[in-house]
């Protein structure tokens, strides 16, 4: 707070104005939606007005059922991210360091990307069951590729001059990894992670729509079958918030770690 007082007046007002503009735009959008659904004469189960969605949300929060589904989806998304990112980073680093390994693996890596995840999701659910495990697997698979590619590109982009410097100082492999390769590859790697985080949410929902017991995707199916359209919208909005939240966390981490890159 004190910091804000010390800053010049101008930037903070500009920032406040931007926030107002954003809220205004959201409010206008919601108002359009409300007006359309009330005056277009569409059935509520085709286009429920935002207020109906809101009251359905309040009920779902009060009886607690929503939290179970959010919890399941969030766990799948986060676990999938962790597994996918771990494998992609380790493999990406190895491939970046070894042209031979790249030659051996690249046909499989490219082929794995040619198969749309939506097409194999039913198979994975069939093989690994309706529980969380199959969803975590789908998330990990969908996260894998962008993180892998960005790890490879990031490591390959490390300037030779830094290796020369480290060699002239007789640095160990481990020191080169920790003090040069990781920080130098970080900006590109985090770009991959940002894409991966939002893709992971998609992976979880696809898996849940195919076959599941709980989760927001499952909630969409349940509500749709019961003609509870406001609930479908509640689930969709929860998914949007989930994806935005994850994206926001990665963006914040990025900002903190890449302070040195910031433009003035």
């Amino acid at each position: 707070m004190n910091n804000n007082l010390l800053r010049t007046f101008h930037p903070s007002t500009a920032k406040r104005n931007r926030t107002w503009l954003r809220l205004l735009s959201l409010g206008l959008g919601l108002a359009c939606w409300q007006v359309t659904s009330v005056f277009s004469g569409m059935e509520v189960f085709i286009l429920p007005p935002p207020l109906a969605v809101w009251s359905r949300l309040v009920v779902a929060v009060q009886d607690g059922s929503l939290f179970r589904d959010i919890g399941v989806t969030l766990s799948e998304v986060v676990l999938g991210l962790i597994v996918g990112v771990t494998f992609a980073t380790v493999l990406g680093y190895s491939v970046a360091k070894s042209r031979a390994l790249e030659q051996v693996l690249s046909p499989y890596l490219v082929a794995s990307q040619a198969i749309p995840i939506v097409a194999i999701a039913p198979l994975l659910v069939l093989w690994f069951g309706y529980g969380m495990f199959s969803k975590v697997l789908i998330c990990a698979l969908i996260v894998f590729f962008p993180v892998l590619i960005n790890t490879i590109v990031g490591i390959r982009a490390v300037p030779q001059a830094f290796y020369d410097l480290m060699d002239s100082l007789r640095a160990t492999r481990r020191q080169i990894l920790l003090k040069v390769e990781i920080p130098a590859a970080l900006p590109i790697f985090l770009g991959g992670l940002r894409i991966g985080a939002t893709l992971s949410v998609i992976g979880a929902v696809v898996g849940e729509l195919v076959g599941s017991k709980y989760g927001l995707g499952n909630l969409i199916n349940r509500a749709r079958v019961g003609y509870d359209m406001p609930m479908v919208y509640v689930a969709v909005f929860m998914l949007i918030f989930l994806a935005l939240g994850l994206y926001g966390i990665v963006a914040r981490v990025e900002k903190k770690l890449l302070r040195w890159q910031e433009q003035k």
Partner: protein, 248 residues
């Protein structure tokens, strides 16, 4: 009393393999460096100057010849490159501190030593700056500080001021001269500037066009400490002419 050379290079030659029989970069290079010598290799581009430094830094293996070090021990090396080569994710302080981190010096000690070095190269107040905010001359000073921080036996400078403008470059000569005097290091520097080599070095070795051979070994008997005026003395002019003739 003669001091034992810290570095002995004998009949060094380097051939880079290529499609038509190999590119002969250096040929039959022999010289010695005593402790606290400031030696300059002067030569046109393509005379294998950088290749020579890379060999001395063990970044490259020679095709033939030997390099001997004092007590048969590979010396600690500090190297300054043509570009400052600073890590953009490290502050000025952390860039200079890097060699100490690699040697496992504890943080408190390392910071203390780094601060001393920052004072020596005149970068007070810029400890926490990012490299992107530094001018070319300042960045090169950080690079010199980084090359000196771990008290190396041998300082290797690869045209460290080539990317600077003329005014800054001349100011950096004075700085380097002063730092070298304060730290008493053995320095091997490569350059293509006659003025630079005469201003800084005790000895100038002139390299020929590829394959680089030593054409002239000139002792620079100008008094120290040297300042700007020395460049306008007749003796400086005489030495410069000798070097110029050797290059052509």
């Amino acid at each position: 009393m003669t001091t034992e050379p810290i570095l002995t290079v004998k009949k060094l030659s380097v051939v880079f393999p290529d499609s038509n029989g190999g590119l002969h970069a250096l040929d039959d290079i022999s010289f010695e460096a005593s402790p606290r010598d400031f030696i300059c290799f002067l030569g046109p581009s393509g005379s294998g100057k950088t290749t020579l430094l890379r060999i001395l830094a063990s970044l490259l293996k020679p095709t033939a010849g030997e390099i001997g070090f004092l007590h048969n021990q590979k010396p600690q090396i500090g190297m300054v490159f043509q570009q400052s080569n600073l890590m953009p994710w490290r502050s000025v302080m952390d860039n200079i501190k890097l060699p100490l981190e690699l040697d496992g010096v504890d943080e408190v000690n390392a910071r203390g030593k780094t601060q001393e070095m920052i004072d020596l190269v005149g970068l007070n107040g810029f400890e926490d700056s990012w490299p992107r905010d530094l001018s070319g001359g300042m960045a090169q000073r950080v690079a010199i500080a980084r090359a000196l921080i771990h008290d190396p036996d041998l300082l290797l400078l690869d045209e460290p001021f080539a990317s600077l403008d003329a005014m800054t470059r001349e100011r950096m000569w004075m700085e380097l001269s002063r730092i070298w005097h304060a730290r008493q290091k053995t320095v091997i520097m490569v350059t293509h500037s006659i003025n630079e080599s005469l201003f800084l070095a005790d000895r100038v070795l002139v390299l020929t066009q590829r394959p680089g051979q030593i054409k002239l070994d000139l002792k620079v008997d100008l008094p120290r400490p040297r300042n700007d005026d020395i460049r306008y003395t007749p003796h400086f002019g005489k030495l410069a002419r000798k070097l110029r003739e050797a290059i052509e």
